[in-house]
Amino acid sequence: MTQASTPTDKQETTPQFTGAEILIKCLHEEKVEFVFGYPGGAVLNIYDAIYQQDKFKHILVRHEQAALHAADAYSRSTGKVGIALVTSGPGATNAVTGIATAYMDSIPMVVISGQVPTHAIGEDAFQECDTVGITRPCVKHNFLIKDINDIAPVMKKAFHVAATGRPGPVLVDIPKDITATLEHFEYPKTLEMRSYNPITKGHSGQIKKALKLLAEAKRPMVYTGGGVVLGNASDELTQFLQSLGLPTTSTLMGLGGYPATDKQSLGMLGMHGTYEANMAMQECDVLLAVGARFDDRVIGNPEHFLSRPRTIIHIDIDPSSISKRVKIDVPIVGDVKSVLTDLNDLIKAEKPQQNTDALAEWMQQIEAWRAKKFSEFELDDKLIKPQQVIKTLHEVTKGDAFITSDVGQHQMWAAQYYPFDKPRRWINSGGLGTMGVGLPYAMGAQLAHPDAQVACITGEASIQMCIQELSTCQQFNLPIKVITLNNRYMGMVRQWQEFFYENRYSESYMDALPDFVKLAEAYGHVGMRITDPADVEGALKEAFSPKLKDRLVFMDFITDQSENVFPMVPNGKGLSEMITGKES
């Protein structure tokens, strides 16, 4: 008896998979290497599917917040999309801090959260929360999957939205019953979203105008930000700056976009930026902003900033960033890499005549500001200076390590005293300023770069927020070096209380600190306490020596409590109104 091949025959032989398996297959299609997560009731089916596959590795953290941070740092240090998986209810709410942190810094991530079964939604079920509602203001976009056939197209959209245009975290909420039903799997080959089409190519007329203004400028300045790093435009930026010989400054998020050790780099600008960077930013006549958003930490008092007349050119992929805080004269909407490439091609073709005399005079003025050496600090033979620890770390690691940071004074000193020559080496929470990220960030960076040196610069207050991750580091053998600048205070809060609240140190001290050496050893790591300035270099060399290259080393540096971060642009003041700490 012959059997004709009918469509129904084909359907019966094509395999069916559970929603959980389909979800995992989507991750395989997107070539995911790591999923950072923590199991729970709503995601049991998903975890069952993870157990039975081996294309990506699941990293079990000890708190969902750390899963988000680790996935975030995996993305920051590689440029790929970071993946996190959490359960419903408390799992999702624990993840919100990590999601908001990634959102503020525009980091591409796909966060999968379990949800109670579809029939239970809205009935106050066990571990139910309105994840889509709660995360709506702090994600680039989110989806609630209502049907098993939606899984593959939604996942494809999620990855696309996360990684394109201005990147950002995308959350996919998936109810438990959908992870159990069966369906065929087909991953969409193409994707069309009529409501989402980011502009990547800059307007050629605007680009020509920008180049003309920069060439004719008497005091040009280039201000770069996180967009250069996210847009992988470091090479194009370097070529651009060197062909025109322009001075440049970077925001906290853009460090490493242009080599900090090059003489054209004036260092970081802003509230704790260098004297020369802030003065040049204030006194320039033509300003080119590349992938930066004129944040309040950067420009200080907006009226003061605008009191000096200058022409401002702004290259940004997000049109809403342009003229949001400061009126822009020449806006260029586009991908930073693409626009800089166009600018470089134009420079090669037209060889624009620059105002060389004025430029030389301007560079001389900048050198005069630099010569004031307001970034220098004094050593002490009894107390460890935190700045000295950072400088020595830079020497010991040859300026080439992945440096993650928590938030506060130590973060600013890390940005000021560890010059970054490469992008994606400096990993910190700039926009949200989340304490606790340092250690999970180091985990993500170390997993992404198993052979690299990874150091977490932190404070004794910040490190306690996600200290449980020392266990994760032990489980996955992550030889991170934790550099704790222990001043027994929440340093940055104390500094503000000293300057603006007449030394009323309200709740900024750190009491009942653990013995960090014993704590590190309890987790199976190496602990060191350093109290003598003469021991700093030796301790760091030992931590980074071949003998300890497979061990996590927790270094508790007992530092000078009275140190403050300088220069500082106080709240409400302008960029040229810095307190330098060297006023006599």
């Binding site: 609630l144 009529r194 809403s320």
Partner: protein
């Protein structure tokens, strides 16, 4: 300045929430908001009346365009447009006032759509200014209840908002 912004967006659950959330999170003012499906049932059209200077309105339009569900945004104030709003208003209409109320209704070209011993319900359409004027023209004590839809707008002639 008062602006009418028309938004074409994906007809997905939560799309309204996203727009409302955007306005409240960034402190933009919503004077009124109305939304319904279009002739294409995959698309909704929302009309928001808001207030702000040029810089604020520019940011609002940009932030709306940034939303993934939003397909197209049009500031109707950029060109010639027509604006209409519907109001249902229940007014006191006991013996002495009945004729007067009917006269007011006729003057404003409204229609009485419900009649009771002591009240009329009037349906009135027109620009928001016209509806404001009608309310102002009545004695405060005469108004029992008002329900307004908020303004909807459409461009004149060739100004068409579509995909």
């Amino acid at each position: 300045m008062r602006h009418i912004i028309s938004i074409l967006m994906e007809n997905e659950p939560g799309a309204l929430s996203r727009v409302a959330g955007l306005f409240s999170a960034r402190g933009y003012n919503i004077e009124s908001l109305t939304v319904a499906a279009t002739e294409d049932d995959t698309l909704s059209r929302m009309t928001i009346v808001t207030d702000g200077n040029d810089a604020v309105i520019e940011q609002i339009i940009k932030q709306l365009n940034k939303l993934i569900d939003v397909v197209k945004v049009l500031d109707l104030n950029d060109g010639k447009h027509i604006e209409r709003e519907l109001m249902l208003i229940k007014v006191k209409a006991s013996s002495a006032h009945r004729d007067e109320m009917k006269r007011m209704c006729d003057i404003f070209r409204g229609r009485i759509i419900d009649v009771a011993d002591n009240s009329f319900t009037i349906e009135l359409t027109g620009s928001s200014n016209k509806l404001d004027a009608f309310i102002e023209s009545l004695d405060n004590t005469a108004i029992l209840e008002t329900v307004r839809t908020g303004a909807s707008g459409i461009g004149r002639g060739d100004r068409i908002l579509k995909l």
